[in-house]
Amino acid sequence: MHSDDASLAERVLQHIAEIGSGKCSITDASIAAEQDASAQEILAGLLMLHEDLQYSQQRQSSLLDDLRAAIRARDEFLSVASHELRTPITTLTLQLDGLFRMLQQQGPQALQETLSRRLEVTRRQVDRLTALVAALIDVSRITSGRVQLSRQLADLVEVIRLVLERFGDEALRGGSGLRFERNGPVWGNFDVSRVDQVFTNLLSNAIRYGRGRPIVIGTVSDGDKARFWVEDQGIGIAPEHQHRIFQQYERAAPSTNYGGLGLGLWISRQLVEAMGGTISVRSEVDAGSVFTVEIPRNG
């Protein structure tokens, strides 16, 4: 073996040992200073091997961070979900216990008014439980790719109007006035129940986070697209949270102050995207938010 070869082999082994311990003293300048082209190739190869290993470690570390964040989000979700499910169940249990006691103590005539009030509370809690379970079923359907759309010719304005009718009392209870801005019908082939679901989610968020201030709802036809939006003047969303509110189990508002599973916007985004549309938000802290949905009119 030529003495230069032996010296190169020794240097290469030293560099390999270095790389094995996560370091590398080879630089572009030291490669350029080499006289021999083969030595340059070998050293460049070693430097790139080191860089590839470092890059791969960085990527693994970043994936691990993502995984940890996902596990944190899941654990928080499970905690919120169990709390959310327990609340209506507790209320239901109390109401049913109360009814049972009343039935034992009072005559049927005197019970009518009390029964009716208690049944109303019970019904609301059952509705809440139904909605929570429906959200969990939606998550399961979406994550397993089983969302099926059923399109029909419909007027978006009418779909929105029916939801607003349904929401009238709730909005009044929350103190918010609802104003609906539209220029005329917006016909298209829509999955009415999914549009209803998305709009319902946006409107209930606007009522929940809207601080009782007026809420503006709008619809417009824009070429082959239909657009609707919900604008509130509530707590708003900080810029650093805006990118994650459409993610699963994520929420911008603290779960201690505001209920919910942190799934509504994620489900909405998945449904809108399944319809070939987009959902976006513009928001400013303490000024409010505008959520806009754009969907194709012809599916």
Binding site: Q40, E41, A44, D52, S56
Partner: protein
């Protein structure tokens, strides 16, 4: 307009994308030329390989010359993209002629990518003419 020695990314203008695409062209039937940019990035590699795949659409066998003269050593991210994109067209490649001039470092980059992808037929050249001839021989 010329492509500068800087990393181009997804914020590149439409003109810049067009100029990047123009760096890939058909030389003759089944033979293509790809003039690499000074600073390879995952974005530029995607634009150039997309164009190459567009031009080679429908061909079950083709060859290309890639001119790496004046190219800086790509970083690990770009090298990963290079391995991915080259690996995707590898089964249809009759030959790759790599023009590296006298740059040993770039030759090492190309060799490492070739070994990682498992190119069946690759040669290294000082000039574009030599690389073209090697590709033509492989296509015969």
């Amino acid at each position: 307009m010329t492509i500068e020695a800087r990393p181009y990314g997804t914020d590149a203008s439409l003109n810049e994308r067009d100029y990047l695409r123009e760096r890939v062209w058909r030389v003759e039937d089944r033979l293509f030329m790809l003039k690499e940019v000074p600073v390879q990035t995952p974005f530029t590699l995607d634009v150039l390989f997309d164009r190459l795949e567009e031009l080679a659409a429908g061909l079950d066998r083709f060859a290309y010359v890639v001119d790496l003269t004046g190219v800086e050593r790509p970083d690990a991210k770009a090298r990963e993209k290079l391995r991915q994109r080259a690996g995707e067209i590898n089964p249809r490649l009759a030959h790759v002629g790599v023009v590296v001039g006298t740059n040993a470092v770039i030759r090492a980059v190309a060799k490492l990518a070739a070994f990682a992808v498992g190119f069946r037929s690759i040669s290294f050249h000082r000039s574009v003419d030599g690389a073209m001839e090697a590709c033509r021989r492989a296509l015969r």
